[in-house]
């Protein structure tokens, strides 16, 4: 396997990695002196962290990762080609076979599905044939047929502007755009190779813009996200100044007092996490901002990343200060190009203003941040899978314990927090944990971002105290359209459960959700009315988990397949035994996935199915 990369491919990789230093890392063979040096050891192995950025560079340049390109990256980073192949084939947005320069990824997930997504897919099937997956499925890409091809995509995190699509243009000047409210004519323009509209995530629905009740979204849409001066004028970096006065221990104390719980889905107490990392002796320590927001129906982090990127930079800096971490990473899902661009710009501006670097803001500590982009893998939102991805390995979750606070990124103590969680740190540090905890109740303190989508009239991100009831929140988003009735709400995401119309008076606190057997997850409130085909949605959720399972452990790898098959048997009235038998089989598969899987993906893959069968009464009919 000695195919060589084209010079353009080499340049694309070198733009990310820098030029080779010697023949040992892919450079030209010079004099014999080059062979009188050695290359290897821990420092060389550590370069593997650049594997995914280098593979992304190839993908963006040529539209696929060629054999020669892969070989060159392996040479540059000293990665065994078999392992690099394992990494390339792990990510949905990396292709191992040639694709047209323009790819259109149309969301057919639950948020977009019945809001135009399926209609777009049907139109594309009619005009451009089956999606460009692989010849194994009989859908080979005909490169001669045109400059563009299309595929379906899991949730793109643009549910406020459904139906959504992602377009990637490969080439020397690669372009990636999220498109919202995509019409059939817009799709025709994309497929015809016409110029693309601006990224839709620049203009999210901002239903509460200007409202005085906003804390986390106070700057969103009103303060220039590209200007550090504007951010400071709007109160930015006051929290860092306050943190410096409080000292690292003081910051952690305020966080503990605030009772802030993680907003990514697991709701772990953030103060406890920071305290644990601060207490670790091992160095270096890391701060990881988990911006791999991929839970179907979740788009709140996207709004924070694009509308208020400096807030994330500041909050991560405070996390570094409080825990003694010196390096931060923001891992942003590959489907959020504008978010990645904005955060990178914010980091650059903060560096210029010496708010990142060797002596942050003159406060006497060092901290810097790097942006990493995913490449299409929901599982990389699982924190340990995310660490593996940053390290240049397949995004396979690790067993816990040990937990990231002890053994995290690169095996070192790591604070891993969700975007929204981090942004909450700013008001806590600035105004004190007690003031923060005065909003809300019990352990459900502060405000929370809710992702309203589906059959509501005004979808978007809403910020409220957690004491709001589900009914009141849905009413804020305009409720369902006149003449329709609410049938169900997917609360928390695809990894969570459906709640029924009789549960709408539930306050959205951790306590109330737990009591109702539900979960707030990542703040998803996806509403379904009587025109929605819920069984179809459930099949999509089952397909999603099968697609996104990393494949490492048996319960999830095969369990998600068997779960989807059983649901299809129920759907097509071809049950093995009665419907009740299939439900019992599903319950056993679900129990094994929940108890036996390595990570949260498998552990929650049955949750929505279980609630749909038990609470909504779906799939109750036997073989006809």
């Amino acid at each position: 396997m000695d195919t060589r990369a084209s010079s353009e491919e080499q340049l694309a990789v070198d733009r990310v990695l820098g030029a080779p230093r010697s023949p040992w890392d892919g450079g030209a063979r010079g004099s014999h002196r080059d062979y009188h040096t050695a290359s290897g050891g821990a420092a060389r192995r550590a370069e593997r962290t650049m594997l995914l950025p280098a593979l992304r560079a190839l993908q963006e340049h040529a539209g696929w990762v060629s054999e020669g390109g892969l070989n060159y990256v392996c040479e540059r980073l000293d990665v065994p080609p078999a392992e690099a192949w394992g990494v390339v084939t792990f990510y949905a947005l990396l292709s191992t076979s040639p694709r047209p320069t323009r790819m259109l990824h149309v969301c057919d997930d639950i948020g977009c599905r019945q809001r135009g997504g399926l209609a777009l897919c049907a139109a594309l099937r009619a005009s451009h044939g089956e999606p460009a997956v692989h010849e194994a499925q009989g859908h080979a890409v005909d490169l001669a047929a045109g400059q563009a091809a299309w595929m379906t995509s899991p949730c793109l995190g643009l549910c406020d502007q459904a139906p959504a699509a992602l377009v990637t243009d490969a080439g020397p000047e690669p372009v990636e755009r999220l498109l919202g409210r995509v019409s059939a004519s817009a799709v025709r323009d994309v497929m015809a190779g016409r110029a693309l509209l601006p990224d839709a995530s620049a203009s999210p629905a901002r239903p509460q813009q200007g409202s005085a009740e906003l804390v986390l979204l106070a700057r969103a849409g009103t303060v220039d996200p590209l200007s550090l001066d504007a951010y400071r004028a709007a109160g930015g970096y006051a929290a860092l100044a306050r943190a410096a006065q409080l000292g690292p221990q003081g910051v952690v104390t305020e966080l503990v007092v605030s009772k802030l719980a993680g907003r990514g889905g697991a709701a772990f107490p953030t103060g406890k996490k920071w305290e644990a990392v601060a207490a670790q002796q091992a160095t270096p320590k890391y701060v990881v901002c988990n911006a791999d927001e991929s839970e179907p129906g979740t788009f709140k982090d996207r709004v924070l990343l694009t509308d208020d990127p400096f807030a994330i930079v500041e909050a991560m800096t405070i996390a570094g200060f409080a825990t003694g971490a010196t390096q931060g990473y923001v891992y942003i899902r590959g489907e959020y190009p504008l978010a990645a661009e904005r955060v990178a710009q914010a980091i650059e501006a903060a560096r210029r203003a010496q708010l990142l670097g060797a002596n942050v803001g003159g406060h006497g500590f060092a901290f810097d941040i790097e942006v990493r982009r995913g490449a299409g893998a929901y599982i990389c939102g699982e924190e340990t899978a995310l660490f593996e991805s940053i390290a240049g390995r397949r995004g396979e979750p690790r067993n816990k314990p040990p937990f990231p606070v002890q053994v995290g990124l690169f095996g070192k103590p790591t604070v891993a927090n969700n975007v929204e969680t981090l942004v909450n740190v700013l008001p806590i540090v600035r105004h004190g944990g007690a003031a923060y905890a005065s909003v809300g109740s019990g352990i459900s303190t502060g405000t929370r971002l809710w992702c309203l989508s589906g059959a509501v009239q005004q979808p978007g991100v809403y910020e409220t105290p957690m004491t709001i009831t589900l009914a009141a929140l849905i009413a804020r988003a305009g409720g369902v359209a006149p003449g329709r009735t609410l049938r169900a709400v997917l609360l928390g995401g695809a990894a969570s459960t459906f709640v029924t119309p009789d549960q709408l008076e539930m306050p959205l606190t951790f306590e109330a959700a737990r009591a109702a057997g539900a979960s707030l997850g990542s703040g998803v409130v996806m509403v379904f009315d009587d025109t929605d085909d819920l069984e179809d949605h459930l099949l999509r959720i089952a397909a999603f988990f099968r697609d996104e399972s990393c494949g490492q452990c048996v319960p999830c790898r095969v369990g998600t397949v068997r779960q989807e098959e059983a649901l299809h048997r129920l759907k097509h009235r071809r049950t093995i035994g009665s419907a009740a038998d299939e439900h019992a089989l599903l319950a056993e598969i679900g129990a094994a996935m929940k108890d036996g899987s390595i990570c949260g993906l498998g552990q929650t893959a049955y949750a929505a199915v279980e609630s749909a069968i038990k609470s909504l009464g779906l799939f109750s009919a036997s073989r006809a």
Binding site: A82, W85, F90, H134, G551, V554, R557, T560, A591
Partner: protein, 317 residues
């Protein structure tokens, strides 16, 4: 359990002792001992599949799960260290159900005909893989290799999907049969830092399409493979098999019960690896090395593992 092989230099510092209970019985072991090893000290056997004494645990098969009181989910016994005060159950109803399902999920998707230990376990746990429907017809060769991460064809309600593909026979020494692969990662570990440091194979693809692959899915002769066969030595299901055994099985002439094993020393180099020659009808049919041999830990090189045919050469005399 007494280790077969001392893999690391013993620490001089005395290790603290931790006390726990396993199935209600008090157990004291040194700190860092796995649940699996702790259970073995009182004669409790926990089934394993992806675990092997000579390899780093990957905890992927989930067959060895145990219930730790107070924990939200089950723990992999092969890698979870015993902690002081742990109350461990190795055969509770939850444990039993998960193990049964793991066996059923595997048996419904993988050909376990060369894994008699697993079929015995299936009987013990009452596993009925046919519950998921009849197995789907075999996939075309290369199906997994060409699958695209994050996409799959809708399931056929008439069948249970399998990993079945025709065996890959691309060299004279060994055969890769994906239909039998349970993705235990043992071969990858043996090829990597645990033993051979050749890195010719790794897991590729995602989810149900995950599979063991060479670089770019290339045929073995075009890959980095050095044909040590150490992956064959650790494969628990016959997915990796020496060509000689594969051929004899195909001819219906593979008879393990009629074989005897003779230990000898490899004649090739000065390392002096112990060879176990498996002889059937007066003919060497396979060479292995004992897992508990301190020098080889079950490993050999291409010569030791495959270079024995001259012994019974009948030509060129």
């Amino acid at each position: 359990m007494t280790p077969l092989v001392q893999l690391t230099r013993p620490s001089r510092a005395p290790k603290a002792t931790v006390a726990c209970t396993i199935n209600g019985q008090s157990v004291q072991v040194s700190e860092g001992t796995s649940i699996l090893a702790a259970a073995a000290t009182i004669g409790v056997t926990i089934p394993t599949l992806c675990w092997l004494e000579t390899l780093t645990p990957v905890n992927a098969c989930r067959l060895c799960v145990a219930e730790v009181k107070g924990a939200r989910v089950l723990a992999p016994a092969c890698n979870r260290a015993v902690e002081s005060g742990m109350e461990i159950l190795t055969d509770s109803p939850r444990v039993h159900l998960t193990r049964k399902l793991v066996l059923e999920l595997l048996a419904s998707s993988v050909d376990l005909s060369c894994a008699p230990e697993l079929t015995a376990l299936m009987d013990a746990y009452g596993a009925r893989p046919e519950r998921f429907g009849p197995p789907a017809p075999a996939n075309a060769a290369g199906t997994k290799q060409h699958a695209v991460a994050g996409h799959h064809a809708p399931p056929d309600p008439a069948f249970a999907a399998t990993t079945s593909e025709p065996p890959t026979v691309d060299n004279e020494l060994y055969v890769r049969d994906y239909a039998k692969c349970v993705l235990c990662y043992k071969c990858v570990e043996a090829c990597g830092t645990d033993h051979q440091n050749t890195f010719a194979i790794a897991v590729a693809g995602r989810g149900f399409d995950a599979h063991i692959s060479t670089e770019l899915g290339a045929p073995l002769p075009d890959s980095a493979c050095v044909y040590c066969g150490n992956c064959i030595a650790v494969c628990p299901t016959g997915a990796l098999m020496a060509k000689r055994e594969f051929d004899l099985r195909a001819e219906g002439r593979w008879q393990p019960e009629a074989q005897h094993a003779a230990d000898t020393i490899c004649p090739y180099c000065g390392v002096g690896c112990t060879l176990t020659l498996h002889v059937q009808d007066g003919e060497i049919v396979k060479a292995t090395s004992p897992m508990d041999n301190a020098i080889t830990m079950g490993n050999l090189c291409i010569k030791g593992r495959f270079g024995w045919r001259f012994v019974q050469s009948t030509t060129g005399r």
